[in-house]
Assembly symmetry: C2
């Protein structure tokens, strides 16, 4: 019941947009050097202040003539003119072309007085008094006075002459206000001799992250004190820059009222907009709330959009003794408070804040900011408020079929597949596993598989992956991925990977060890890896193998991998064998292992626990032991297999993967001129077919 | 015959791409601050070096508990636990949760020893020893030791806890090489505490413009010496930046061999690639050619692509005493020579050079670099070599029909219209009148109207206009254009504008004065303007009207507008009247006017000639006379009409224009809260209907 009341108090998304529109972010007009103007937006119309060209200009190499002197001339009956001089580009003509004469002229040179046309050099000959080519070198044009020129064509007045102002006339409109300056506009402005241009300013956006636990990247982290690196400040700063604003990072604020007030007021003094991202602690948000109410005006608190509940919109007064913002009489700054979780913060920023920054900077919404796709899976919703659902996008080439029908793909352009990404919004990795958000209306109950949706990409520069892989994590696989163009790989483990592959969305799953049925997945190849027990260097506790691990007398602290991991599946199988040998049950052996249920996430994680002294034995790879310099007791060798979604076989993505995989493993068909992905990985070998 | 031989010597475009591919532009790897990394491309894979989070972390506000203590608890029968302390985000837990106890915990805080789950605060109550809420303020959590907490739900181990490494595990692959860094990747790298990242360097590209006539924007221009502002250096510099390179501008080089050699060697020492743009003078190109042959290697001279004939590709040796390029052992720089005309230079740059710079910088080709359209007109070709044809693009909304059939448009998405722009490649204005180029194969004889074509935009930031207008130039029109979003207007004059409108391509034509038939064009509105004779301030020669102008005794130097201009049409009509009054022929009167055939391009041009003393009388507008402070003798008033292409009526572009026009003229339906476009324009008035 409490929830319902709270929901009813939230502002509609349109009201949030309206409140933001009412804020003044306008940074005004800035005069900048043309060399720095690429990508900026003209604040005013630019009219030409001079004629381009500024003089009548030869547009061919040849001879400047009076056109009338050439009338009737042709190959058979050339006109013959006295050469009276030469004019080169960049010099003032020293000659006048009188009737019956001509002057040599270079492209770009000023037309000499008297001349009104140019005959191109190819239609002329230097001749002597008899009308024949002279004995000397006819190309020696350095000192040609006294020569005569045969003109073998007739020209009209203006031929091969660009008259002054023909390109741009003084007083003409050159570029309109709102024009975005790309290289070509910069070229035109250069032609007009313009050195500085009036452009829309870039709104200054102050960024304040709140939370005592935040540490800036590069500084040491004290995990015991629960410190984490600040993600939102840098993410939002990059987003501000991308939208055409100028980000200004402020020190982290704790939840002390005085400190927060000082910081926000300073940011308001110096910026057009202040953006805070709430820490995960509610008290900091409460403090900000109070500061905005005391030192400005809170327009809106909470928006009926998931994840916009903690959003704040308001204004902040600038300080009275406002000597920092010299000349700026406005006296207040806009304020927007974002949620604390990174994906939520970026989602709200992208949806509500970035458009306002672009508007203030005069920048258009980039054409690549959205992408049309279709739902890969059915997604239930029905939450009663607008949801900005984080989604991943998977591009499909023409050879791939929609996985939902299981048939070979029809050729043709297929819309990218769109699938929800929901790891809990606190996860930073969601940032790169999601490509954008789909806005789902409050009254939508389901999004059907195949339903067209528009994805608002997190950034116009986001390029969705062309290959989606899931499954085991493995160091050789990491190297394989390095050789592919824009892959996305989710290390969810072998069991979960195969489950997802059967669901039809991924292109491939990578499976290690004994596995569940892989359905009709197509084996593209793979390798083997040696696994066993990671122990400290020198093996101080003399662990020899599984027998020691399951010996309750040994009191060894173990660290395991989760049940989705292929390493865990191999360990379980090995324990089954030990149990069978002893005529007992695996569960019993497991119960004897201290830490058997302590599972960690990645292939190196158990080894790192052993290294840090938190465990005596960990499940892991020989390759990891060698890399990290720990001891290793081998237990077995397992296959790692790259399994393709049968519906995607024949797609460019799978074809490329297969080719790269073959080359990367260096089998009989492999490319031996390049290191294989297995080189220097202890315990790794090509799979024997 | 000469031409054919020359053509046979030109390299195929593929050979040019091959030669460029053989050049080494690789700038190497650069380590830069994460804050500066947006848009850059990772040079190496980044693996996580730490767990994120680095500790088991509460993901809800509530109470840290031993899950086992809550088993079986529900609303009716809560578990009651002793509160032993509190843990906030950013602090080290000072308590241990023993069986039967709990600790208050904030989102983001470190889980205290003993606790393995969090119960969210909403499912709990603070109680007294009787199990009832205490008499005091239950929200006072500041000092809660000694309180008891009723837990009204059961939780499982791990509930509302993000275990260490659950987001990113140390050793896991975070981002692959070649990843372009957008805000979200920067967020992930921040979470990993990464302060600097290894990225692909930006190739340094030295830009050398040749030509004694070139002057850098901002410096004074001497038109008498044939000087022009350098367009290519700034255009190419902006293009280099856009492609991910770092432009370095060098001083202009004349065509002196020693100077050119010094300049090119210096640029080669300092850059990965040197790009020159030939001046229009052939001798400068010859000098460069010799320098490259002497001081490097010329791989290719001339490409069989229009306009690539003067293109050069080669290598330049760096100087022996090479102390500038410390640490760089390569000893040579790549070299590419571009044509001199701006549109040609940008075309060749975009087609051959920009891809090589992007490749070296690791940047992908932007998704917006090309656009699919269809030919608006039939274009004949058949030149026997690849043509990179400059084209304009016109976007069409769903309401517009293809002008070629003259029928009302079908609703649906229509491809943008593409039309050739050929003003002679020397024109700077072609830079902004063309949006890109269409590659036409050597064996193509015709591009048919309606034929689909791919336009390579001059820049990924180019946005084709949504409205194409042609016709008269006019100061009120300029203001009208300022109020539209991305219009393109070609001031070709009234007569040529109407001709083009009848041809079907433009959306509107603007016509002034007595005109040819406008076909079935739709009149959207307009205004009137007063025209007459511009004379110097104070009218020193006492010009009263046309009678003076046609008086051969007066010896007045006149400057006229071209026959396409509506002003000229009105002048001709007025002269017709004078001739009729005198019983003579207009031609006779014209012959008496000194300078009648001296026509200049824009509405202000004659007035500027009068101002500069080059003429005694010019054809022009009262508004121009007032603006420039000249004298004015009125002759008449003419209509300026905005005429729509009948096939486009109903399109968004025309609808918007009509609405803006109505508001801008401020007629009965106009918006009087904003200045009209006629305000302060002397001699302008709304048209009477």
């Amino acid at each position: 019941m409490t929830d319902r009341k709270e929901f009813r108090d939230l502002a509609a998304p349109a009201a949030a947009h309206g409140a933001i529109d009412s804020l003044d972010l306008d940074p005004g007009v800035e005069e900048i050097a043309l060399a720095d103007a690429r990508g900026r937006v003209l604040a005013e119309r630019i009219d030409a202040d001079l004629d381009v060209p500024g003089f009548d200009r030869a547009s061919m190499d040849g001879y400047a003539v009076r056109a009338r002197d050439t009338f009737g001339a042709d190959e058979a009956d050339p006109a013959e003119l006295d050469l009276v001089g030469a004019v080169h580009a960049g010099e003032e003509p020293a000659v006048t072309v009188e009737p019956g004469t001509c002057a040599e002229i270079s492209t770009g040179a000023v037309m000499p007085d008297g001349a009104d046309a140019v005959v191109m050099v190819e239609r002329t000959d230097v001749i002597d008094d008899d009308g024949e080519p002279p004995a000397g070198d006819s190309d020696d044009s350095g000192d040609s006075d006294g020569d005569r020129i045969a003109i073998r064509t007739s020209v009209a007045p203006g031929d091969h002459v660009m008259v002054a102002g023909a390109d741009v006339a003084a007083g003409a409109r050159a570029l309109g206000p709102g024009t975005r300056l790309t290289p070509r506009e910069i070229g035109l402005l250069s032609a007009l001799g313009i050195e500085t241009v009036p452009v829309r300013g870039r709104p200054r956006v102050g960024i304040v992250s709140t939370g005592d636990e935040l540490v800036r990247p590069g500084e040491p982290l004290d995990s015991d004190r629960g410190q984490i690196y600040d993600v939102n400040s840098t993410t939002i700063a990059a987003g501000v820059e991308e939208a055409g604003g100028e980000p200004v990072l402020y020190p982290h604020a704790g939840d002390d009222y005085e400190e927060m007030e000082r910081l926000l007021t300073r940011a308001a003094d110096e910026c057009d907009l202040v953006v805070s991202s709430g820490s995960t602690s509610a008290s900091a948000v409460d403090v900000i709330y109070r500061v905005i109410e005391d030192r400005g005006e809170l327009l809106l608190h909470g928006v009926a959009v998931k994840p916009g509940k903690p959003m704040l919109i308001g204004r902040l007064d600038q300080s009275a003794d406002d000597d920092q913002s010299a000349g700026d009489e406005r006296g207040e700054s806009a304020y927007i408070g974002l949620p604390g979780y990174p994906v939520s913060a970026l989602t709200i920023f992208r949806t509500f804040v970035a458009p306002a920054i672009r508007e203030a900077a005069g920048q258009p919404e980039p054409r690549t900011a959205t992408i049309e796709g279709e739902m890969a899976v059915r997604e239930r919703y029905g939450e009663g408020r607008l949801r900005l659902m984080p989604v991943g996008v998977l591009e499909r080439d023409e050879g791939a079929s929609d996985g939902s029908d299981g048939k070979a793909g029809e050729r043709g352009t297929e819309r990218p597949l769109v699938y929800p990404v929901d790891k809990g919004s606190g996860a930073t990795t969601s940032l790169v596993e999601a490509d954008g958000v789909v806005a789902v209306d409050p009254d939508t109950e389901y999004l059907e598989a195949g339903e067209p949706v528009t994805v608002q990409l997190f950034s116009p520069d986001v390029r969705p992956p062309t290959l989606l892989g899931v499954g085991e994590d493995d160091p050789a696989l990491n190297r394989l991925l390095d050789r592919l163009d824009r892959p996305r790989y989710l290390p969810v483990g072998t069991r979960e990977g195969l489950r997802r592959l059967r669901g039809g969305l991924p292109d491939v799953a990578v499976a290690a060890g004994p596995t569940d049925r892989a359905g009709d997945a197509v084996d593209l190849g793979g390798w083997t890896r040696e696994w066993g027990l990671i122990v400290p260097d020198g093996n101080p506790k003399g662990v020899d193998g599984l027998a020691d691990l399951v010996d309750p007398e040994r009191d060894l602290r173990f660290v395991n991998r989760g049940t989705d991991s292929g390493l865990r599946a191999s360990l379980d199988a090995a324990l089954d064998e030990v149990a069978a040998d002893r005529g007992t049950d695996r569960r019993e052996l497991e119960a004897a292992i201290d830490g058997f249920d302590l599972t960690v996430r990645a292939f190196e994680s158990p080894a790192r626990r052993v290294l840090s002294g938190d465990a005596d034995v960990g499940l892991g790879l020989r390759a990891t032991a060698e890399r990290l310099g720990t001891g290793f007791r081998p237990v077995g060798t397992q296959d790692v297999r790259v399994l393709a979604n049968p519906d995607r076989v024949g797609s460019d993505a799978i074809d490329e993967l297969e080719a790269v995989l073959t080359a990367a493993i260096g089998g009989p068909d492999g490319d031996r001129t390049r290191p294989t992905i297995l080189d220097d990985l202890a315990g790794y070998a090509p799979r024997e077919e």
